[in-house]
């Protein structure tokens, strides 16, 4: 298995290490619920160094990216980040990602760990077909990434960086330093909380991790593993590639319409998405709450309210640590996607009633 630069730190903190797509990472330290609740009430610290980083730098880099992702890359200012989907010609999703514009013609694309090789191969093919000449590089082995998320994030991080964090707004970033080490400090995250994702050189990961552990622990910050990362994003209805997003889902039905600009110049997948939109979306991703005992999980079938017809599928589900109830994200036909619609979920052969609810399930109170 691959290890991030923080492997020893996780061992020291008693992290329970598991195989996560070929990476040896902690699924938990003190417990998923404990870590989840700490993140929401104080702060959580996450090693996300397994994520992939691809740089596109030079003339034509903007147009190149704009042609292959769903969102409008021409609108990204220097110092701004933008969420987007890498698309197939049929409108399916190769990956979801964030594009950071670091310079006039310098883009930093952060992709899912599980898709790094796939995404880079995809981009390389488009690069060769386009006869491009700018620099396209898979820099994943060069970066460590640490996320601090939660209401106390800014207070914990500020003493460690000269960047004026109050001026780094959501989906903006600063090229600065953390703990004396050059760092990209971005106000982005995957938990629904305020927080920052910090990118440093691979070898510098332990230094900033330790600095943050020292600064944050006294005010209730806890290291959070993959288990809490998943429950936090689920409560916020953030999609997970492999669950909500696949080759077979398009961004419109997955709720990524806000990151899909059908009025921008031609891009891979545009025609298919325009078609899908004109025909009317057949299904939509919704949030469900179970109205009976049980826990809905990935792959469980969704039935109509009588339990007679199979109509959809659960993409992610869990017992929500913050809400203390069973929640799920699921694809259902557009006709039953409105809030209040009743459906049922099959759990071990029994159809348990469920209801479409507003999302995010958890909304932060600040």
């Amino acid at each position: 298995m691959k290890r991030t630069a923080l492997f020893e730190e996780h061992r020291k903190l008693g992290g329970r290490l598991v195989d996560f797509g070929g990476w040896e990472l902690p699924v938990q330290y003190t417990g998923v619920i404990d870590e989840h609740l700490a993140c929401r009430s104080a702060a959580g610290l996450f090693d996300v160094s397994h994520m992939g980083e691809i740089t596109a730098e030079g003339p034509g880099s903007m147009e190149f990216l704009d042609r292959i992702v769903s969102n409008d890359v021409s609108k990204i200012e220097i110092g701004m980040a933008q969420y987007s989907a890498l698309l197939r010609p049929d409108g399916g999703i190769v990956d979801d990602l964030i594009v950071y514009r670091r310079g006039p013609e310098k883009y930093f694309v952060v992709v899912n760990a599980s898709n790094t090789e796939k995404d880079f191969a995809w981009m390389e093919r488009a690069y060769r077909e386009g006869g491009s000449s700018f620099r396209l590089e898979n820099e994943s082995g060069k970066w460590s990434q640490i996320a601090i998320q939660g209401p106390l994030s800014e207070r914990i991080l500020q003493p460690l960086t000269p960047a004026r964090l109050s001026e780094v707004k959501t989906f903006r970033f600063s090229e600065s330093e953390v703990a004396g080490v050059p760092a990209i400090v971005a106000r982005t995250g995957y938990t629904g909380e305020d927080g920052f994702e910090i990118y440093v050189g691979w070898d510098s990961g332990p230094k900033i991790w330790s600095a943050l552990i020292e600064a944050g622990t006294p005010v209730g910050m806890k290291p959070c593993g993959l288990g809490a990362r998943d429950t936090l994003r689920l409560e916020s209805k953030y999609p997970l590639y492999g669950n909500e997003l696949t080759d077979e889902t398009n961004p419109l039905e997955a709720g990524l319409g806000f990151a899909t600009k059908l009025d921008k110049p031609d891009f891979v997948g545009k025609a298919a998405l325009v078609s899908a939109k004109n025909e009317g979306l057949k299904r939509k991703l919704v949030g469900l709450e179970l109205r009976g005992a049980g826990i809905p999980r990935h792959g469980y079938k969704v039935f109509d309210s009588e339990g007679a017809r199979e109509i959809g599928i659960v993409t992610s589900g869990t017992q929500s640590p913050s809400l203390k109830k069973p929640i799920a994200i699921a694809y259902v036909p557009t006709g039953v996607s409105a809030v209040g619609q009743k459906v049922s979920i099959e759990i071990r052969g029994t159809k348990i009633p469920a209801e479409v609810v507003p999302t995010p399930f958890y909304k932060r109170p600040y």
């Binding site: 998923v32 619920i33 404990d34 288990g227 049980g294 017992q319």
Partner: protein, 128 residues
């Protein structure tokens, strides 16, 4: 991790305690530790007949669903409702407070095939 001498153990990380013609069943400290925070427990109805090896419910953590297997053939005569209401008891007190079901043994059924605490401890070590 300590496993009480008064209990017998299965390879599925359940414990059983004989009390006359009845046995009490739960999951072990190793099971609760491996699963993590327990958030849901599903148990059978009183009166349910079980065959040895048959699944009779589940214990669920955030990440995983774990089936419960009956170590004997018999009839469910009691079910621990407080664990259903408060699944975290399984994490806090797996060998006592978090008993799950009591089963009245069918004729010919017993705990003969189960491990004692020493054997179970050894078995758990091999899994590390």
């Amino acid at each position: 991790m300590r496993f009480p001498d008064s209990l017998k153990y299965t390879k599925d990380h359940e414990w059983a305690k004989a009390e006359g013609n009845r046995i009490t069943v739960g999951v072990t400290d190793h099971a609760q530790s491996a699963l993590g925070d327990i958030v849901f427990v599903e148990l059978p109805k009183v009166g349910r007949e079980l065959k040895a090896g048959e699944t009779f419910g589940v214990v669920e953590s955030i990440k995983a669903v774990s089936d419960l297997y009956s170590p004997v053939s018999g009839k469910v005569v009691a079910v621990n409702d407080s664990v259903v209401s408060e699944p975290s008891i399984v994490n806090r007190d797996p060998h006592s407070g978090a008993w799950l079901v009591k089963i009245e043994l069918s004729p010919g059924s017993d705990l003969g095939g189960l491990m004692d605490s020493a054997k179970y401890s050894e078995y758990v070590e091999t899994l590390k």
